[in-house]
Subunit: 344 residues, 2 copies
Amino acid sequence: MTVKINLPHDNSYEIFIEELKELYFDRKVVIVTNPTVSGFHLEYLKSKLNARELSVCTIPDGEEYKHMQTLESILEHCFEKRLDRKSLLVAFGGGVIGDMTGFAASIYQRGIDFVQIPTTLLSQVDASVGGKTGINNKFGKNLIGAFHQPIAVYIDPSMLKTLPKREFGAGVAEIVKMAVTFNKDFFEWLEQNDLNDEKNIQIAIAKSVQTKADVVSQDEKELGIRAALNYGHTFGHVIENETNYDTYLHGEAVGIGMCMANALAVKIGLMSQEEALRVKSLLEKYNIPTTYKIKDVEDFYEHFFLDKKSLDNKIKFILPVGIGNCKITNEVSKTDVIEILKGF
Amino acid sequence: MTVKINLPHDNSYEIFIEELKELYFDRKVVIVTNPTVSGFHLEYLKSKLNARELSVCTIPDGEEYKHMQTLESILEHCFEKRLDRKSLLVAFGGGVIGDMTGFAASIYQRGIDFVQIPTTLLSQVDASVGGKTGINNKFGKNLIGAFHQPIAVYIDPSMLKTLPKREFGAGVAEIVKMAVTFNKDFFEWLEQNDLNDEKNIQIAIAKSVQTKADVVSQDEKELGIRAALNYGHTFGHVIENETNYDTYLHGEAVGIGMCMANALAVKIGLMSQEEALRVKSLLEKYNIPTTYKIKDVEDFYEHFFLDKKSLDNKIKFILPVGIGNCKITNEVSKTDVIEILKGF
């Protein structure tokens, strides 16, 4: 199956959801990956990928390495291999690999091409689509980065066979996010179908990618509707930051974040208690955490202001409107937010 | 005088060459500058600039600080001041300040606006126009960066009064570059008029900016004709790199580089010996160096391959064709290059 992302300025590209086909690149190629992905799948990728000159840059595995130092090590590899402006980077791994490889590609000699071959469910359904790249720093997540679209994305669902259950759940969280914010039918389908089934997960990936593609095509630079994809993220980013990025997987923090956003939506009358519970049950079915013990509620609140989505010292929340619809608002009172936070 | 840079994708902007007017920004603004510029001109700028919230980020002065660490210190300042996606950076200084501020703006929260207020002749005529941003690393100059256009450029020639003579000469080198590559009449005008005269320098700035604007408007991302603006730079970058960026000013290295390019052009019959001498005399009139003692010619040659302009292991040279015209070629034999290098 192929999904097309339509973007202005010659930035359009295609996402292929199928067994990886033979790839030919008549240029220098660097595969950026980590030891885990490499151990499971590098030989498979190499058997499919033909390049004029190929090298592999292996970086440590984990969100805690998504920082400037690792980015510099990728760039250093590219310089040592004398990549030029026509060379290509291949992001081969999960969201961290994708975000950092894309960012490296965007600033290496002022920008070279890259492709995404996402290996985790989360990166297949979300991170590899849309051209957001970046790294974390002590102030928060993805605060330094660029919009840089890949020239193609190759999603091979067979790679999910080696994915740990927890990471699978983290990916499901992003699938649920897509459904709650944009597609009620898809949400009901998710309630009725088990994603551990091979056919079902393929359908869910395609539906998620198509949903995200539609949103990104409308608003590449997140000036409007695209922000809705951050449902669960305003809260989730604070949770990740407070726990030093080493306690929860990104998708897990988003899972908790969605429950917080839902609680807020229930509080101000955008969602029924019953709908919030349906989302919670669906998440729990895949062992996605839905609660988080907040140490200091005021401190948690203060953290919001470092989020990119907080313009003019107003926090921008993405709140569900029932199921299948959502609203972007910066008109939520601090009192309401504090109150729901205390409930966690 | 106003020069318009016409670019696709809403990236067009204007360059104002006149006494700085009152500026109003209803957003957070950070001025990035260095102690030298700050000492001479910061109070003047502050008297003209009105912002919702203003802070100043001072970084060390000099090309040797144009690296990742300084870039990170600019970003850190922005995070501490809680800049959001609507905030603005003001590059207030020479080419180093402009390149680094522009690069910081391009990656802070995936891209915010910036304006250029160039204070050196070099940055007024060249560096502030065209949207190239970046930093150096151990592999070479500007090897990490982005294309990020300013929203406006304000050139106030009165600021040149405090510029050291050597830096003035470095700026003249870039003016000569524009004339030799694109405009014979302008070159002859330069031979006949003294740029130390206040009226003349204003004319020369305007002519240079207009020339560069025309080229950049045709080829923003340097896929073709824009590369001609690198005349003198293929050699110049190697010279700067070999001397650790601390011996020559950028414009001085370009001055030597142009003489090397001219020698090569003479050797392969693109320029007469007499024309090469006219360029050399013009440079020497402003005390711009025109020779450089090469330690190891083979080593110097090997250095070319790290230059961004060297695609496919072929070195791309920008060579003058007479005066007022130029040619981009990667068909120069190593023997010819080595021979002219030995002459230096």
